[in-house]
């Protein structure tokens, strides 16, 4: 779901930078207050994990592929603001070095995957896990459900950003200037794969790693 350059018109990609920068600023401020020095290696691990996870392309019906992102997992273990920063770092490196996602689309991609993904994942996890013991099964289930939903939220937002382009960025003769498919195409196309497959992969990965932490480093689930 990395949006390349040329799919979003300037109105959209500009607006998305405008939407994302405040979250980066707030996340930085929050981390400045709460991140302990010993957590820095974990932020690096989270960013690296997200990066490599996104390299695993999974084929889906219809001949396309998708991937998991690991955002919810990072949000559960390090907090939503650490997730926003670390996944953004992975996405920015992917865009700059590997052409995975456009430069103009960095704001948009970070918003859909890092910000929306991180905050939704964290919120849902906290809702379901509330009050449970950190070694309980409920925590793992909460993480899995949160991961599933958050990935689909990211996919839906991406579909919306792409699908509105024909509406807002068309030539005088009505020809789309950027992403040419309308919402009626983008939403089913993007959301189906994530609802039916990638969401479950994300949930499974999140659950497995959470279980690992429950056994080896339960303090991180505080």
């Amino acid at each position: 779901m990395h949006i390349p350059d040329g799919y979003l018109g300037p109105a959209t990609y500009g607006a998305m930078f405008g939407a994302t920068v405040p979250f980066w600023a707030f996340a930085s401020w929050k981390l400045n207050k709460t991140l302990k020095a010993r957590q820095a290696p974990y932020l690096a691990l989270g960013a690296a994990f997200s990066f490599v996870l996104m390299m695993f392309n999974i084929p889906v019906l219809g001949g396309t592929t998708g991937h998991a992102a690991g955002t919810t997992l990072i949000a559960v273990l390090l907090g939503p603001w650490a997730a926003v920063i670390s996944v953004s770092v992975a996405l920015i490196i992917q865009a700059l070095l590997f052409g995975d996602g456009g430069i103009t689309a960095i704001g948009a991609n970070c918003f859909t995957m890092a910000v929306a993904g991180g905050l939704t994942g964290y919120g849902i996890y906290r809702l379901i896990a509330a009050g449970s013991d950190r070694k309980s099964r409920r925590r793992v289930v909460a993480g899995a459900i949160a991961a599933y939903v958050s990935l689909n939220v990211s996919a839906l937002l991406t579909a919306i950003l792409l699908g509105i382009q024909p509406l807002i960025e068309s030539s005088s003769s009505g020809q789309p200037l950027y992403a040419p498919y309308p919402l009626a195409v983008t939403v089913p196309a993007m959301v189906s794969g994530h609802l039916l497959l990638f969401g479950f992969v994300e949930a499974a990965v999140t659950a497995l790693v959470l279980k690992y932490f429950q056994r080896n480093e339960p303090a991180m689930l505080a």
Partner: protein, 112 residues
């Protein structure tokens, strides 16, 4: 072994397995991700390349485009190797940058 060390080993293993991200889609005859087509592919998809996209699509020339080492021949084995290499490069740079940011952000809390 500390947890961090074990986790880094886990990530290294994932990097080594990354060619699966190339091989599995190839086995299924799957193309790229939905909505991540190159601008030129739209000629095949809809018969034209949207004008705005034409202008922006080649804005940036990334050094390791599509996780391939430049100058590589095609063929799944070669591309798979390139994938592993770029995975390690990407992990190193991403982790390094994230670590730097975390240290800058957490500098007030160094003692804790």
């Amino acid at each position: 072994m500390t947890t961090t060390k074990k986790l880094w080993i886990g990530i290294a293993l994932l990097a080594l397995l990354s060619p699966l991200g190339l091989i599995i889609p190839a086995l299924f005859g799957a193309g790229g991700a939905w909505g991540e087509w190159g601008a030129e592919e739209f000629n095949k998809l809809i018969g034209y390349v949207p004008k705005g996209m034409q202008k922006l699509a080649h804005l940036w020339k990334s050094p390791l485009k599509d996780y391939a080492v430049p100058g590589q021949a095609q063929g799944l084995a070669r591309r798979g190797l390139g994938y592993v290499l770029t995975a390690f490069i990407g992990i190193a740079i991403t982790a390094g940058l994230a670590y730097l940011i975390a240290n800058v952000l957490g500098r007030k809390n160094r003692e804790k």
